[in-house]
């Protein structure tokens, strides 16, 4: 058993820490406040090969492993959970979907520019009436000559307004049930596909989220990803990868909450002593540090399983469930430790708390994770 990261992984983590401190931390408050997508940061992320860490070099990536990608997401999220998430869904879901299911042509045409960071990927599955219940989706894709014609409305699409390469799920055969959903790669600018304006969210505000509307959107047959009807299986596998990323994002949030809480509690004097001397505070911090470690081990383990080419579906769900709930629990505590100051705009813990909530919701709610886990253990 070996708990040690490689020297390369440690260095890459350190470099991302420095990157985030230099380019992300200083603008994190502003991009949250203005709900702004920091294109300048993504340009720099692309230059440093951060947008495709686990993707092989022949497809434009850095050719590293999934754990290394996870470490980068964690460090990036420590400064800004929105930026961390945008990279996570781009790599963990959009890139991975094409890598695992695409033809050589699709990989060259779509994966390569995504992994290089020239194009941003998006995952288009959720619909107004179909969240956890994917089967309730209504968007259809009907074969018409050499193209599929898509119609329907998607929502909560992350990277919707800013994306370049969309992984869109639609029914090719609704009657076939679980074997009737298909996935299409649709580049930005395709006629009939439009993104709405981005939603005003509680947290994760610089991540751009919108509706996606498909109106007689013609997609060439060549853009079908995998086989017709394989969409659901691909989506679930995509979630497995994405969830480890969300777990990493959550760890980054908890780490930031812990850092802020330690710093503040040691400096804040009440009744003549730093509040860290109060057991009520120090035990909150102890729990925070403990659950952070637990979340980290779950997450790294899930990524390690993936790198060993072992099944990691259950572990991904466990990591995501535990890490995201820890993020919510402990950012609330972190605000409590900061008192009134923590409730004000500009306090990092205030943003962390708002950002944490979404980790329990997207890429499968906590309830959905429990369904996956219980389904696995009760089998």
């Amino acid at each position: 058993m070996d708990f040690k990261l490689t020297e390369e992984q440690e260095l890459i983590r350190k470099n991302m820490r420095e990157f985030a401190d230099k380019y992300v931390e200083p603008i994190a408050v502003e991009i949250d406040e203005n709900s702004r997508h920091p294109a300048e940061v993504f340009k720099k992320l692309a230059e440093g090969d951060w947008m495709g860490i686990p993707i092989p070099t022949e497809y434009g990536g850095a050719g590293s492993d999934y754990l290394t990608h996870i470490l980068a997401i964690e460090e990036l999220s420590r400064s800004c959970a929105s930026t961390g998430f945008t990279v996570s869904i781009h790599v963990g879901i959009a890139c991975m979907l094409v890598l695992l299911n695409g033809t050589e042509e699709q990989k060259q045409q779509y994966l390569l520019p995504m992994a290089k960071g020239e194009k941003l990927g998006a995952f288009v599955l959720t619909e107004p009436g179909a969240g956890t219940d994917v089967m309730a989706a209504t968007t259809t894709a009907v074969l018409d000559g050499d193209a599929y014609v898509l119609n329907g409305t998607k929502t909560f699409t992350s990277n919707g307004p800013t994306g370049d390469t969309y992984m869109v799920f639609a029914w090719t055969d609704k009657a076939a049930g679980r074997k009737g959903l298909s996935c299409f790669i649709i580049p930005r600018g395709t006629a009939g596909m439009s993104a709405g304006t981005h939603f005003r969210k509680m947290g994760l505000r610089s991540s751009q989220t919108s509706e996606m509307v498909f109106k007689d959107c013609r997609v060439p047959k060549a853009n079908l990803l995998g086989k017709e009807g394989a969409g659901l299986v691909m989506a679930m596998a995509g979630f497995d990868h994405g969830r480890v990323g969300i777990a990493a994002q959550s760890i980054g949030i908890v780490q930031a909450a812990l850092d802020e809480s330690i710093r503040y509690s040691k400096e804040r004097i009440q009744f003549g002593n730093p509040i860290s001397k109060n057991q009520a505070i120090s035990w909150m911090i102890a729990d925070m540090a403990t659950e952070l470690s637990a979340a980290r081990f779950l997450t790294y383990h899930a990524a390690w399983l993936k790198d060993q080419k072992l099944n990691f579906s259950k572990e991904a769900a466990m990591a995501k469930l535990f890490a995201s709930e820890a993020a919510m629990r402990h950012t609330i505590k972190a605000v409590q430790i900061h008192g009134g100051y923590g409730y004000c705009k500009g306090a990092k813990v205030e943003r962390l708390m708002r950002d944490a909530k979404i980790t329990e919701i997207y890429e499968g709610t906590s309830e959905a994770q429990r369904m996956v886990i219980s389904g696995n253990v009760l089998r």
Partner: protein
């Protein structure tokens, strides 16, 4: 011969070194020698300020730098075998000292901020380490003991014109392959901040270059000079390097230091430690500068500074 040798490229530096040199020499009743650049008419001044012997390093041919003297001084030191050699911790002094130490095969305490002689005669020297987070005490196991001392650590030695001493002119060194082809004397936007009684320091909390006028306005009012943290001069180039305060910049010792939007990184704080009163304006209540400060205002410098100026105007008018 034993004794203490001070080496300086300017007379003011020589006088500061002669001050501590004299103190140490008197403790063990040894001689004090000063190797100083300049002409014979200056040499008498060095004797007045404590030197028993002056080794004159006369003007070098055009294009030669101070470090050309290293082999000459090394030969002198090997001959005279002093107990101790002191130089100023200026760029030239530090470079000279390290290379001289290599010639002599001895240890060197760089940026020595205090030195004293223990009961057993060991010289204990103090210096800062880890970016100023730690004070390190060292002693040297070889002869001579060498140290470079930051400028203004000691006051110039007082002059006593009744003193007498030897003056010897050193023969010119053979030319160094390193040639000075140009000198750019820096344009000082203000007077030397190391001498200023009041320093207003601009930190990264300042958002735009043109906003520096806010700090200047405050500095003018309190008759102070402007300084800055490293990012302001090094990364943003809003102010010249000679105004950068910190471990690797200048160290200031004003009566009053006011930091505007200065976060208080250890490397910077080390450069202001000598200030009598340290004040800080920062919107982050937890900024480390407040730990190093005597007085602080928690607030945005853009909001606070104009109000502070107004209040100071009222107070000084009274």
């Amino acid at each position: 011969m034993a004794g203490i040798l001070v080496i300086a490229e300017r007379k003011d530096l020589a006088w500061e070194l002669l001050n501590i040199g004299r103190q140490l020499a008197s403790q063990v009743a040894t001689t004090l020698t000063a190797a100083v650049t300049g002409q014979e008419d200056n040499a008498q001044n060095h004797i007045a300020r404590g030197a028993d012997e002056v080794l004159l390093m006369s003007t070098l041919p055009e294009g030669q730098a101070f470090d050309a003297w290293i082999p000459v001084i090394a030969a002198e030191a090997k001959k005279a075998d002093p107990d101790m050699i002191l130089l100023a911790a200026t760029a030239r002094g530090k470079d000279f000292a390290a290379r001289l130490a290599a010639h002599l095969g001895t240890g060197l305490c760089s940026n020595c901020i205090a030195l004293s002689r223990g009961e057993d005669g060991t010289v204990v020297m103090e210096r800062l380490a880890y970016g100023g987070a730690a004070v390190q005490q060292v002693s040297c196991v070889t002869r001579p003991v060498m140290a470079t001392i930051p400028t203004r650590t000691f006051a110039p030695a007082p002059a006593d014109h009744s003193r007498s001493g030897e003056i010897r002119k050193l023969s010119l060194p053979s030319p160094s392959p390193v040639r000075i082809v140009a000198r750019k004397v820096k344009e000082r936007s203000s007077q030397d901040i190391t001498e200023a009684k009041v320093v207003v320091c601009v930190g990264r909390g300042m958002e735009k270059e043109e906003d520096i006028h806010i700090a200047r306005q405050l500095a003018d009012l309190v008759r102070g000079e402007i300084g800055c943290t490293r990012p302001i001069s090094e990364e943003l180039h809003w102010l010249p390097d000679d105004l950068c305060i910190g471990l690797s910049g200048v160290q200031v010792k004003p009566d009053l230091y006011i930091g505007l939007g200065v976060s208080g990184q250890i490397q910077h704080v080390t450069g202001i430690r000598g200030a009598r009163v340290i004040c800080a304006v920062n919107k982050d209540e937890n900024a480390p500068i407040f730990q190093a400060a005597d007085l602080g205002i928690v607030g945005d410098l853009y909001d606070v500074t104009p109000k502070l100026i107004e209040e100071l105007q009222k107070a000084t008018r009274r």
